[in-house]
């Protein structure tokens, strides 16, 4: 039986090359015409803790969500087996290093006690010993899982002798072995894998050669397993795709939007965005140059936001990127941006809080922080993106809104999207425009905060024959401090009332999007990266006889009341379900506050792991068919 779709996990220790495996395999699959989504789970650790890639590969469409159980587990070490064996589907495959057969759980110091104890208990219940071989034997017998034991060491030794490699560099080739073995089992054309290696290593030709040598070895040795989980020939009709993470798409969006100053203080999962921007500081292209983009690693997040505001005042599109702890430090700066009507984009990648929390895990628990932190009242905009491609367009939207309304825009993303790799259609550049808002050439009596306009014409610092003032204190039209009560009312109202203009002017598709069938018998409401799983759930639920829709709230602040109420009007309130990676499912609070619509049914997940399709669908069905109102999802190691 050929499979339309394959779910798989690649597991191993942090630092052992899993990310490379993910990239090479995904490139190979993309080249072959498959759709891929890959989530990367890792500890806040550089070397040694357990890390894994959870992938979904499809021959028929671009996958939007992850699934359990998986068809294949490729384990670089015993910990991967102990951690994930239970997640392999009956009839699935486990690739592993035969050398770890004798390893027991107690031999693995890097595993956390909580997990160890849980797995030991489970094994005890099943009456199995806690070593790799026993587990695999059990799986083979009871659950028809094929174990593909391979001999890493032998291959590496052969590679070493062939290319005269030092022993200490050999571990780098494990990622390739994992890819090739997996590709074999999926019955992929190994040309795709070759492409994967070439694309990954570029002009480091030697490495490609070495990996191809390994490929031949493996092909020979594992011939019998070829196509064990044969995936269908792809039927997705597209001649090119982009393969990138959420971080990448935001960075690319910023470049297209014309960002010229990006500040950052390193923090997971935001730093990779700046790392990519650094590579594109100056784009030499057809004899011309695009840029420069100054990418500044500042001394802290306070300097990140304040320097970006400084850059913005000179007329350069400016942004910064951070996650929760860093955003907290930017809050005072945000308030200055509000007071001085500074266009600036803050890309905010949520991770698990509070405090340092789970720094490498995902969450959506910062909505209220983004929307309401900072003292005083002022206009800001909070945008969210449901997937990689949206992240690209929304990045451009964020700059346009920031400049058009002269407000700080917070683009709220999360670790799931930031770190997951996906095949995505190439953005349609003909849909992208740049709106720099109401600018001015200044002049002798220039007033930066001219009250004759709802949004004052903006001249930049450095404009000829023009001087202007900015102040965090309440100010007059020139920007000079004034405490007069009547001036206060005018300035204060002007600044806040931009929210109404924004609410009325921003196009509906930036505010929210509705998916699924008309006159639904249930409605899921969410935002950000739950979109993928929600859309896939609609499909699954349709098969089970439920007609549903998904409402993706994209502009979270100011909240698009009118449009929301229009959507919600036809739906039975008891059949509306809010979903979020948090405990509180705060989107429902935001909705109550903004529209007085109370959503009582909620799906929450706050383990730091993404919602996967099966648990999501189950939860929705439960909520639709019972009195239960709140489901907490907990799947995923």
């Amino acid at each position: 039986m050929e499979l339309n779709e394959v779910s798989l996990i690649l597991g191993g220790a942090q630092g052992s090359g899993l990310e490379a495996s993910m990239l090479i395999l995904s490139r190979a699959l993309a080249y072959g015409g498959y759709g891929v989504i890959a989530d990367r789970e890792y500890y806040s650790n550089i070397t040694g803790r357990h890390s894994y890639i959870h992938m979904n590969v499809s021959a028929t469409n671009i996958p939007r969500s992850l699934r359990y159980p998986v068809n294949l587990l490729a384990a670089m070490d015993s910990e991967s087996i102990f951690t994930h064996f239970n997640d392999v589907a009956n009839g699935g495959v486990i690739i592993y290093d035969r050398g770890v057969d004798g390893k027991r759980i107690s031999d693995v110091p890097s595993m956390e006690d909580a997990l160890k104890l849980r797995v030991l208990k489970h094994l005890q219940d099943l009456n199995i010993e806690s070593d790799v071989a026993s587990i695999l034997t059990y799986l083979e017998k009871e659950r028809r899982i094929t174990r593909v034991g391979v001999d890493f060491t032998r291959w590496l030794r052969m590679l070493a002798s062939k290319f005269e490699l030092q022993p200490r560099v050999l571990s780098r080739y494990v990622s390739g072995i994992i890819v090739v073995t997996t590709a074999l089992i999926l019955g992929l054309d190994l040309e795709y894998v070759k492409y994967g290696f070439e694309a990954q290593f570029g002009n480091r030709k030697e490495i490609v050669k070495e990996n191809l040598y390994l490929m031949d070895l493996i092909k020979e040795d594992l011939n019998q397993y070829g196509g064990l989980l044969q995936i269908k020939k792809p039927t997705i009709n597209s001649d090119k795709v982009m393969l990138a993470t959420g971080n990448d798409f935001v960075a690319i969006g910023k470049i297209v939007a014309g960002v010229r100053y990006q500040s950052y203080y390193p923090i997971t999962p935001a730093a990779d965005e700046s790392f990519l921007l650094e590579k594109f500081e100056v784009i030499e292209y057809d004899g011309d140059v695009i840029g420069p983009i100054i990418v500044m690693q500042t001394e802290d997040e306070i300097a990140a936001i304040t320097s970006a505001m400084g850059a913005s005042l000179t007329g350069s599109r400016s942004s910064t990127a951070t996650s929760g702890p860093g955003f907290d430090l930017m809050v005072e700066g945000l308030s200055w941006a509000g007071m001085n009507e500074v266009p600036i984009v803050i890309t905010y990648y949520q991770r698990g809080g509070p405090s340092t929390g789970q720094p490498t895990r995902g969450s959506q628990s910062d909505l209220f922080n983004a929307a309401f932190s900072a003292h005083g009242e002022f206009a800001r905009v909070v945008l969210s993106s449901g997937d990689h491609l949206e992240a690209f367009y929304d990045t451009v939207n964020a700059f346009n809104i920031a400049e058009r309304y002269q407000v700080p825009v917070i683009h709220l993303l999360d670790k799931f999207l930031a770190n997951s790799l996906a095949t995505v259609p190439v953005p349609d550049l003909s849909k992208v425009t740049i709106d720099r808002g109401f600018t001015s050439n200044g002049g002798k009596d220039y007033k930066r905060f001219d009250l004759n306009h709802k949004i004052s014409p903006r001249a930049f610092l450095g404009t000829l024959n023009t001087v202007m003032w900015y102040s965090g204190d309440e100010h007059d039209e020139y920007g000079h401090i004034v405490e007069d009560p009547e001036n206060r009312i005018s300035m204060y109202s002007k600044r806040i009332e931009k929210l109404q203009i924004i609410e009325s002017e921003v196009p509906e598709e930036i505010k929210l999007r509705l998916y699924g069938e008309g006159s639904p018998d249930y409605l899921i409401v969410g935002w950000g990266s739950v979109k993928g799983v929600a859309l896939d759930a609609l499909d699954e639920l349709r098969k089970a006889g439920y007609r549903g829709m998904y409402l993706d709230m994209k502009m979270l602040y100011p909240f698009p009341k009118k449009e929301f109420l229009k959507v919600i009007s036809g739906v039975d309130p008891s059949r509306v379900i809010a979903v979020e990676h948090s405990y509180n499912v705060s989107i429902s609070d935001l909705i109550s506050m903004s529209t007085n619509v109370k959503i009582v049914k909620k799906v929450a997940k706050f383990t730091g792991r993404p919602m996967v399709l099966n648990e999501f669908v189950e939860a929705i069905i439960k909520l639709l068919t019972s009195k239960e109102e709140y489901k907490v999802l907990r799947y995923g190691a």
Partner: protein, 317 residues
């Protein structure tokens, strides 16, 4: 009120206490700008929050009155994005050395071409006289309930330790001397720091004009004083001399230029090694929009630029 464009002073009422040392600093800075003939539209004063911070409104060049402690990073963003601008930071001693300490050090490390003027009055003026980081240990000004139990930090030494390549001290009531220091600081290419001793007549009854009058000596008046680093080998010895003079306090307080090193690349220069056409082409003047409000990266060049992320699916299959 409409500022008089011919003057380097705005016509706002200056609301410092009568007799405040800040008036001297204001005069010195406006005179320096005037004598250097700096174009007001190409000059920016970036200030923090404090009595000192208000100066941004009193000078008739661009003024950015920022947040307490954050004038330096604001200034950095402005200068990097538009390197044509002359950027001068004004901050209090609390602003720059207490809450803003990390930025003060970071600017030195970058040697960015910005001048930092510190209004050094030993107190938190605008919040009614608490001890600032430059107030000596054991001192009790009239505004303090108890004696100060924190040691002072020596701004000259801290600036030198941080990497500023121009380090000077001036006195608010010696306007001409201060003006000359400002002029040199502004024309210096790199991070310049000027510690300005500024009597606060309202809260600091210890560091008064009288106190300073008795102690201040100009470095220039010391025979053979030359703060300029001649070459890399000269650096160490000039640094030590600067530290030595900078640490003097009890009986003699030196003003003038302590240290001047032109041999360290300014941050903009380092950047220009990396960003070919910088600073000529820079964030504030480089193009981002093509015709019809389109980004300059369009359907035609997008895939080429981001080729590493594009996968062309194999033909037939």
């Amino acid at each position: 009120m409409v500022p008089e464009v011919n003057s380097y002073k705005t016509d706002l009422w200056v609301d410092w206490c009568p007799g405040c040392g800040n008036f001297g600093i204001l005069t010195a800075v406006t005179k320096a700008l005037e004598e250097l003939k700096l174009e007001p539209s190409r000059t920016v004063i970036v200030s923090g929050i404090g009595c000192s911070g208000k100066i941004a409104h009193f000078v008739n060049v661009n003024g950015v009155h920022t947040l307490h402690g954050r004038a330096i990073p604001f200034a950095m963003g402005i200068k990097l994005a538009n390197p044509d601008l002359t950027v001068i930071v004004h901050g209090g001693d609390g602003d720059l050395l207490s809450i803003g300490g990390a930025h003060f050090v970071a600017l030195g490390r970058r040697n960015l071409d910005v001048v930092v003027v510190m209004h050094d009055n030993g107190v938190y003026g605008l919040t009614k006289g608490q001890a600032s980081p430059t107030l000596q240990l054991g001192v009790k000004t009239k505004s303090l309930a108890k004696t100060n139990i924190q040691q002072p930090v020596n701004p000259i030494l801290l600036a030198l330790a941080s990497g500023y390549t121009f380090v000077a001290r001036g006195y608010a009531l010696d306007v001409n001397h201060l003006k000359e220091i400002f002029k040199k600081a502004i024309t210096h290419r790199g991070a310049a720091f000027v510690d300005v001793l500024q009597p606060c007549v309202t809260f600091n009854d210890v560091l008064t004009a009288d106190y300073y009058r008795k102690r201040i000596h100009k470095l220039e008046d010391e025979g053979g004083w030359d703060p300029l680093v001649k070459d890399i080998d000269d650096r160490r010895s000039k640094l030590f001399k600067a530290i030595e003079k900078g640490l003097e306090w009890d009986s003699k307080i030196y003003t003038g230029i302590f240290y001047l090193d032109n041999s360290v690349m300014a941050f903009e220069e380092r950047l220009s090694e990396r960003l070919s056409r910088y600073p000529l082409r820079n964030p504030s003047n480089s193009k981002i929009v093509a015709d019809n409000s389109r980004p300059i990266i369009g359907s035609d060049n997008f895939e080429k630029i981001f080729k590493d992320f594009v996968v062309y699916v194999r033909k037939g299959g």
